[in-house]
Symmetry: C2
């Protein structure tokens, strides 16, 4: 199995991306990793690790999509970028999966354009795994699609249910709809129409889920519009970082609490690890015809290694094939819905 890795993508590229790829190549010796990007730069990074692992190859791509490039511009003008070339390897059948921690919008645009959607799927969505009090919760979509219709949200539920089952081993995952109240009739038109679709499907739909209930494991999967998911997630990152730095600043004000903070450090570090997206190895873009994993911009080598692991799991467990057959079951349900 071959995984194309965008070696130039992410705040810590290429160093941490190449390092993570080397670690993954060692861990998964029966798979091959294609590092996509500037050949010379990648080779220089690989030299740090002595003899190249045999299962790493380089695919030259001279251009890089900057974090400030508009997604559409990157697609039209930078056809030789590491992102587009990585995706094309999957589109041409030369790799089964792509991993990028680069520009999310450009990755989504390239994947949607070159891989196209899976048979029956209307829009792809990014599914992120969030640590909760007693486990995890998958949130889909967190920003791939900001012109969301009820059928899109509904299909996100179907796709994420398959992902939960074949990746996390949750047999009949509970699907929730992010909403502003628990009652059935709550929310805007999008929420109400999606509620009706989810209710009449074969999914294990548990109804509306409010923001704070995500952490109570009321549902294994929570579906929401990409705009909402995106701002919510970034807000959560902001609040988590703000909380930790406030605790630190307050504790530094006195000798005793400074001592206390030192003693608490292992507990706080465990928490930081739990909040750390790198543990979960990136977020799959579900619904495209191929495996596409989007890493966090801050991905370090461990996050890249985990993202490659997730890409291999998705390929080996044939998650896309399962999505197609599950979505087929719901075709009659959404036939006449926008």
């Amino acid at each position: 199995m071959r995984v194309a890795v965008d070696a130039m993508g992410g705040d810590k590229a290429p160093h941490e991306v190449v390092k993570g790829s080397v670690l993954a190549a060692q861990q998964f010796s029966d798979s091959e990793i294609v590092l996509v990007g500037d050949e010379k730069v990648i080779q220089r990074e690989l030299n740090i690790y002595g003899a190249d692992p045999k299962n790493i190859v380089i695919h030259h791509a001279p251009q890089v999509v900057g974090m400030d490039d508009p997604a559409t511009y990157s697609i039209r003008q930078k056809t030789d970028s590491s992102i587009t070339q990585s995706v094309k390897l999957v589109a041409n059948g030369e790799a089964s999966a792509v991993v990028s921690a680069g520009h999310t919008g450009a990755t989504v645009a390239a994947a949607t354009l070159h891989l196209r959607t899976l048979n029956g799927i209307r829009r792809p969505g990014i599914a992120i795994t969030l640590p909760t009090r007693h486990g995890i919760c998958l949130i889909i979509d967190v920003g791939a699609n900001i012109a969301c219709k009820p059928t899109h949200l509904f299909q996100y539920g179907v796709m994420a249910a398959v992902f939960s089952k074949y990746i996390y081993g949750i047999e009949n995952p509970k699907i929730g709809l992010l909403n502003i109240g628990e009652e059935d009739a709550k929310g805007n038109d999008l929420a109400k129409e999606t509620f009706a679709l989810l209710s009449s499907s074969h999914l294990n739909f548990v109804g509306n889920v409010e923001g704070r209930e995500i952490f109570d494991n009321k549902a294994d999967v929570v579906v929401c519009e990409g705009f909402v998911g995106n701002v919510m997630l970034k807000f959560a990152e902001g609040i988590a970082m703000s909380l930790l730095s406030t605790i630190k600043a307050e504790a530094m004000k006195s000798f005793w609490s400074r001592l206390g903070l030192g003693l608490c450090k292992p507990a706080i570090e465990k928490l930081r690890a739990k909040m750390d997206f790198s543990e979960y190895g990136g977020a799959p873009l579900l619904g495209v015809n191929g495996v596409c994993i989007i890493g966090h911009g801050r991905s370090d080598s461990k996050a890249i290694q985990n993202a490659i692991k997730l890409a291999l799991q998705l390929s080996k467990n044939e998650v896309n094939e399962h999505i197609i057959s599950e979505v087929e079951k719901t075709n009659s349900l959404i036939a006449n819905v926008t």
Copy 2:
């Protein structure tokens, strides 16, 4: 000045509401508080504090809106509820402000129906004050209006700017638009059209603000759709509570970190206070013709006291009058926009 307080609203009503009202009556001896709700119940609570403060009166309202009652039902069927009767005191000119920690939807519905909107305002919005790294940030709307149009978002910006100026003393508040990226052209149609309106207005518009930037004080006011604001805020509450309980659970696992936690306690308590909505005394429903403060369901006596204080400040500083004159300046701008 008279403030009507819904004595039956909130998880800790009537006890904490009456207690907070007594505290406020003592603090603001030149104002009068009207406790609205079941006369006998309120009198029993007042008896705890010995002789009634002279500036507290009771207005009997036999019905209570339950937290599970749909908002529209409460308006149509429970016309003698403490919420509706409190709002009506303002509508009839018998009070200048209303405070309720009860059912938010019912309060918004009652206020919109009986007070109507301010001259020129299309939709009211709830503005919540969030503690940030270096101060505060006002987020509007967090759930009053879930069918939001560009003009509504724009007017939220105008209203919150007035509130920031006359309540927090921020002279020329920075107004931001919650969005999924920093570039001007980002986001859904609602965001793009609102961006255009805010850009061409007299407001101190600083552009798009991402979720995590709320804590960096990029803007003093962030406008967003009610649905988005509501789920984001509840998610943040969930994550904050989850973080604090995880730190505690982790720290309890060893003797040294347990000791450390004990020493850190003052720092964590300060943080909890900072996260505590009661410090900010509830959220104003801006845009209705009267002062309406919505308290958090968990409001204790201190939160109620602060909410009454905020209600008095809004009345005394003539915030609504300033809103009307500020909105007038923008009439030509939004004349032909939906």
